[in-house]
Symmetry: C2
Subunit: 492 residues, 2 copies
């Protein structure tokens, strides 16, 4: 695979000097078009072996283009805020907004490759990481990001030569560390592991570009031209076709049965039992959240449900049992403009708590497959692929020890009408009732269908859905608390 | 001062149970009004001595109100990302948006008081911290924040009694640490230092409320009622008068002279000298940015200037000398909606770099006293007080080792016209020219006046302005690079 990057590629100075001015000006043009139209972000990964000129090339790109429209991220060792969250969190938070170029110097490939090379993981761990990366990049591409991946390569001989010449230069000798020489010893292993990773992740929407690193002019021109072609291709290409997904959306079940219809909404709990159980469960939840073992985990709870199903009231019974200093409730409404410039899940990733903390979402990332589907706010293709993206997201959370608990609070149409009317009648609750709420009722059956599909496709062993019969508020709140306690307990 | 909080305040259970439901419902109403109108943020500080019930009270507030509209911040030891920035950075990033309540459990008072109690600082350090806090809170209030500060107090005897009863309770004994007992030994000093801090920072716009901590019902009711009264007072009060500042804005100098007029815009530099100096200075800047001592500092450079004065070109000559991995260029345009919900300086604070890094602002926080003043985008009162706020901001940056460099790039009217026309004529630069640019020219004299005032009021020893004669681009770029190098060097 790397043969083509060991040919001694080089570019003549005369050719270089002639080409660069036009290339720079074309890159600037493309950057301005990108910024003006602001339709997609560009994500540029710079990976490769030591001494292959990654840093200098990044500097050249910044010098050639307008640095105001570039965000260069040098991701070395994670900060403590990063180390205390799922590994992908730091990359999510560094994703550039639409209209800008984000350069990643050190990326989601760095750790899986280094871990394998240094024997901290085995081949199957590497395979799993690669699969996660594949899904992540597929998501980025589907969300519209232009993804460019460059791998800088040097032959074994060229790498040694490079280090020796650096050492000999008094101005640069400090740059050569023990670990650089250490890495040359592992050259073969680095190449073997990288090749596997590159081969498996070179997809049509995100191919790797190999760059031989020994000649600066060759490197710069290769990266510059590739970037320009990709930018122009996207900027001048046909508008994307986001109308329909490859596979038609699921039809409602032919016998009319579904998980919502199967709920027994007549379940109730007396006020007396409720109060007794509430006190018990809040005490239990409080104890669990203070437990030493909880410090190794985090809690992410998502509340979805029919309008007026009692999400707010349930959430307050949960937060009432937790120390306010370590929990945050996130009401999910329309995205802010900063959020709109990023992939869909970005606004949820940014809320992911540190270990030992809890975050409760009042409505969640499931809006994609509920309101956005039913109200046609997203193209079919977007919400159809969201099921898989959400499963990936939740698995990443779970893998790092996060307890993901999801509730659908279900009421029937009559109960909803009664609650709407009660809200209209009483003071501050009017605030909670909008015309949208009445309108949504007309689409009741569409929502039932959407919820059924959602449960079918996203209720997983790592993050199962809990359907809550919520016609009776007492019953619902107790079921929510019980579920939370059980889920936390079984994780310990 | 604390006598009133050692009276053994307590509230009868019957009275409490009667009052609480109405209070809760009124607090919820106020919260919804706050969220709906979204006009101002509420910042609620909870300070005080150990064992006085701060944590439980925060939990009660969260239980009484809608937790979706509260952000509780428990700020203990700083994370490494926080420790690597000016001390106030962590508080700025935790400020709640307008429409929400932010509770600070641990605040900007915690460290100055603890440092003084434990002898890490002396009285004059404490005085300086208090002055900084005063200015910070004045700014918050002027920006519209509703600031509520509660100090929880216990008598010496009551504190000891509290710790003993905790220790005796097997469920809670783990909560009592060595340092708690340690703190009781320093009770007198804690009280002395806190009293000084409280006395000096209890202002009309941000008074301290003393709360005796021994009785939970008294605490809860006191905080709840105070919060409600403050919320209602602001929500129902007359719209704020932000028309004019107390002091009239400065008049133009009576003899027509000003710092801009005094510039010799005929200064030039030949292409040959330019190229030689450019290479020298970029090398020097590169060396300085890699210097070991730079790791203890950070660079914050702000570029302002007439339209088409060459800010972008100068910035590129600067970034061209720096390692792209450690520098970011922030183009400042209209605030995002998240930024608009915070005090003016928030959007600049969020960009402040870690030590060893650089951030370059293309336009900056000075927009407040330039375009916002000239175009009447801000009330006079807002931009008039901005000079002082900006000086405070830059002093905070400087105090932590940040090198703050500010450039005004000046060209004359003829040169500007020539550049506008050249932009209209060439390809990608058209993007840089808007109708606004032509319109701004009509206000040339108003801008000159605004710039003169800005330089007069914000060119300080910690962050001086550098006026750059920019009719000749070569001359301007060299002056910018030279200034940067000199400023960094003199800091080492």
């Amino acid at each position: 695979m790397f043969e083509s990057a060991e040919l001694g590629h080089a570019v003549d100075k005369k050719i270089y000097d002639k080409e660069v001015p036009a290339l720079r000006s074309a890159l600037l043009d493309a950057q301005f078009d990108l910024a003006r139209d602001g339709k997609f972000p560009v994500i540029l990964l710079i990976g490769g072996i030591n001494g292959a000129g990654k840093g200098p090339t990044v500097n050249v790109l910044n010098a050639w283009m307008d640095p105001r429209l570039i965000e260069t991220n040098s991701l070395g060792a994670p900060s403590d805020e990063e180390a205390d969250r799922p590994p992908m969190w730091r990359y999510w938070r560094a994703l550039p907004p639409a209209g800008k170029i984000g350069i990643f110097f050190g990326s989601w490939y760095t750790e899986p490759i280094a871990d394998r090379v240094y024997g901290r993981t085995d081949d199957s761990d590497l395979e799993r990481s690669i699969e996660e990366i594949e899904r992540f990049e597929t998501m980025l591409a589907a969300e519209g990001a232009l993804l460019l991946k460059f791998w800088f390569h040097l032959s074994k001989k060229a790498q040694k030569k490079h280090l020796k010449s650096l050492e000999a230069d008094p101005e640069n000798s400090w740059r050569v560390s023990e670990s650089d020489w250490e890495q040359t010893k592992r050259y073969d292993k680095v190449v073997r592991v990288s090749e596997l990773a590159l081969r498996r992740t070179s997809k049509g929407h995100a191919p790797w570009h190999l760059v031989e690193g020994s000649d600066a002019r060759y490197r710069n021109l290769t990266v510059g031209r590739t970037l320009l072609a990709a930018l122009r291709g996207r900027l001048d290409g046909p508008a994307e076709n986001t109308a329909a997904s490859a596979v038609p959306p699921p039809l409602p079940s032919v016998d009319g049965r579904n998980v919502i219809g199967a709920l027994d909404l007549s379940l109730t709990l007396s006020k007396k039992s409720y109060e007794k159980k509430l006190a018990e469960l809040q005490g239990r939840l409080n104890g669990l959240s203070r437990h030493k073992k909880f410090q190794r985990h985090a809690l992410v709870a998502a509340f979805e449900g029919n309008d007026a199903a009692g999400k707010g009231g349930s959430i307050r019974r949960v937060t009432g049992a937790l120390d306010a200093r370590f929990v945050r409730v996130i009401p999910v409404a329309a995205p802010t403009d900063e959020e709109s410039l990023h992939p869909y899940l970005w606004r949820f990733w940014r809320q992911i708590p540190r270990r030992g903390h809890s975050v409760i979402f009042d409505r969640s990332w499931y809006g994609r497959v509920l309101v956005e589907r039913v109200e046609n706010l997203s193209p079919e293709d977007d919400w159809m692929r969201a099921y898989g993206e959400i499963n990936d997201f939740e698995e990443e959370l779970a893998n790092y020890g996060c307890i993901v608990v999801k509730f659908w609070l279900a009421i029937d149409k009559d109960e909803q009408e009664a609650r709407f009317k009660a809200r209209e009648a009483t003071g501050y609750k009017q605030f909670k009732l909008t015309d949208d709420d009445w309108r949504n009722r007309d689409k009741w059956d569409l929502y039932v269908h959407a919820v059924s599909d959602m449960v079918e496709r996203t209720s997983t062993s790592v993050a199962p859905w809990t359907l809550v019969e919520a016609n009776d508020k007492h019953y619902a709140r107790i079921k929510v608390l019980e579920t939370l306690c059980d889920r936390i307990e079984e994780t310990f």
